[in-house]
């Protein structure tokens, strides 16, 4: 009867991931993701015009793409369990809260990872057209995936807060928007303009997804950026577990 936590998480993970593909939602999401990712980088980012063989314009739009698409994936994580009552089934199986939170989170993350992996033709294209630094591109993908994880962890927590998926979506977009904004040059300039001390501005920027994502996607793999995302994910997942425990019965 006894089994390792890893094995249990894996069972929950597989069920959850399969359930994404059991409905059209998964396919709709992937198609929209690919179309938008392509459209953004080709039209807005001037993918060709720049005359440079890299994927920077592609990755630059990821934060804004994720801002609306990831909450759509995350909103169902717990809100749906609560709405359908299956949370009562799940949490009365011999599963710990952590196993449940991680199993579901990893499934959502893997799902977004699959969508991200399907952008590989972009990579092939730049390699065909020129001679890009593939190391930087790998770093870009890694940064994008980590950022997606952080978005999802925020969404996991907020979807545990309500049984209404629309509310979960809006809350997640709002919080993620703040976390992005905190690192946006315009916002930081504003803070500088009102004379905030540099240390405070750095701290605000340091909280933002944007700052850390941009430094990774430039190809600079700094341990601090990785640690930031891991901590961010850990924090929001911990908050998810706390919120689920408090709200599961409502």
């Amino acid at each position: 009867m006894n089994m390792s936590s890893k094995h249990m998480i894996n069972i929950l993970f597989r069920r959850e991931l399969r359930s994404y593909f059991a409905t059209p939602v998964a396919y709709v999401f992937i198609v929209i993701f690919l179309v938008l990712a392509g459209a953004f980088s080709f039209y807005l980012g001037g993918f060709y015009q720049r005359g440079q063989a890299d994927l920077l314009p592609f990755f630059n739009f990821h934060p804004w793409l994720y801002l609306f698409l990831i909450p759509a994936v995350a909103m169902r994580l717990w809100a749906e369990e609560r709405k359908s009552g299956s949370i009562e089934l799940l949490l009365t199986l011999p599963v710990t809260m952590w196993q449940a939170v991680l199993g579901k989170f990893f499934a959502a993350w893997a799902f977004v990872g699959i969508a991200l992996a399907m952008t590989f033709p972009m990579w092939l294209t730049v390699n065909y057209l020129g001679d890009p630094d593939n190391g930087v591109i790998v770093a870009g993908y890694l940064g994008s995936l980590l950022m997606a994880g952080a978005f999802l962890a925020v969404g996991s927590c907020l979807s545990a807060l309500t049984r209404n998926q629309v509310i979960a979506f809006i809350l997640t977009v709002a919080i993620c928007f703040l976390l992005l904004l905190a690192g946006w040059p315009l916002v930081l300039d504003f803070f500088r303009g009102i004379g905030l001390p540099l240390a405070v501005i750095d701290a605000i920027a340091g909280l933002s997804f944007l700052t850390h994502f941009q430094s990774i996607s430039k190809g600079v793999l700094d341990l601090r950026d990785l640690v930031y995302f891991v901590l961010m994910i850990g924090f929001w997942l911990y908050a998810s577990a706390v919120v689920i425990d408090l709200k599961k019965a409502d």
């Binding site: 009867m1 006894n2 089994m3 249990m8 069972i11 929950l12 069920r15 399969r18 359930s19 059991a22 409905t23 359908s84 009552g85 299956s86 009562e88 089934l89 949490l91 009365t92 199986l93 011999p94 599963v95 710990t96 425990d245 599961k248 019965a249």
Partner: protein
């Protein structure tokens, strides 16, 4: 074995469950009765480890649900109210998932799943999406899920709700068959079910235990216990005749079907006296019966007295 000690659950000011203590031992089937909102489901959710009690404790097979939740959940099979499941999965996939989480492997796994499918007649819906199943089949899937690991303890919240009469019968037989070595709690609104499957019944209202007895013991509290009823074409005359018997306290004619019922004075047996009186007077009647007592009447009496008391306080 299930043991609850002073178990309570408060929602703000509302005491949904208020100091409930009972012990159910292996081989026992406990029926949980009570009006809507009595606290049956809330109690079951605490036993299953879904809700954290506001006070008191529960243990399942000796495992405290709060301090050893995983062990307690391993020995427990639970059908939550409304039989929730993952609607987008098909039945086979869902039961496979539950079997995996329950740690079943190899040959045992196959055998246990097939057994659950067989017992609940799920064979022909195995590939159907759960969302598209009828209500009764969804309930049966929920039951299959609860028994797939052959748990020592079963907590079933309204297991026969929404089942057709044949299936109700089968599920009762199933509970009965499993009762030998298991500890089982079922909640129900169907009083005849108490008779059919339970050997003990607890009636709760407003979160408190009002009665804890065998079904026969509960029936004995009924006004109808040991009463004699008969059907006849001449109800008025029968009433007059039976009223004269010494141990008969009252004779009542049912305004709907005209059935005549004679109630005994407390502790008296009147069946012999009634039949004797009928025979001596050559009184014509269609049939006559000795009443065991009516659970619905006892239920109403117990829960409504409590409600009036609550209003007066």
């Amino acid at each position: 074995m299930i043991e609850t000690r002073e178990l309570s659950k408060h929602y703000g000011d509302l005491k949904a469950v208020d100091h409930i203590s009972f012990t159910v031992t292996p081989g026992q089937v406990l029926g949980f009765l009570g009006p809507n909102g009595a606290g049956k489901s809330t109690t079951m959710k605490m036993i299953a480890g879904f809700l954290t009690p506001s006070a008191g404790s529960v243990s399942v097979c000796g495992f405290d649900v709060q301090t050893a939740p995983i062990q307690a959940k391993q020995v427990l099979g639970y059908l939550p109210e409304g039989a929730p499941s993952y609607g987008e999965m098909n039945v086979a996939g869902f039961l496979d998932f539950i079997a995996d989480v329950r740690g079943l492997r190899g040959e045992t796994r196959r055998r246990r799943i097939d057994d659950a499918i067989g017992r609940l007649n799920l064979g022909k819906v195995m590939t159907q999406t759960i969302d598209t199943l009828s209500k009764g089949f969804r309930r049966r899937v929920g039951l299959a899920q609860a028994i797939v690991h052959d748990p020592k303890v079963l907590v079933l919240d309204e297991p026969t709700d929404g089942l057709d009469p044949n299936q109700k019968q089968e599920v009762r037989a199933l509970i009965h068959a499993m009762a030998k070595d298991k500890t089982i709690i079922v909640s129900t609104h169907i009083l005849e079910e108490v008779h059919a499957v339970c050997d003990r019944a607890i009636i709760i209202a407003d979160g408190r235990v009002l009665a804890d007895d065998t079904p026969a013991g509960l029936e004995a509290r009924s006004r109808y216990h040991q009463a004699v009823s008969l059907s006849t074409d001449n109800a008025k005359a029968a009433q007059e005749l039976l009223t004269r018997i010494a141990d008969v306290a009252a004779v009542v004619i049912d305004p709907q079907d005209g059935r005549v019922t004679a109630f005994p004075r407390p502790g008296q047996q009147i069946f012999a006296a009634v039949t004797e009186a009928l025979r001596q007077n050559h009184f014509p009647f269609h049939e006559i019966a000795l009443e065991q007592g009516r659970l619905d009447e006892v239920f109403r009496q117990i829960t409504q007295t409590a409600a009036t008391e609550a209003v007066m306080v």
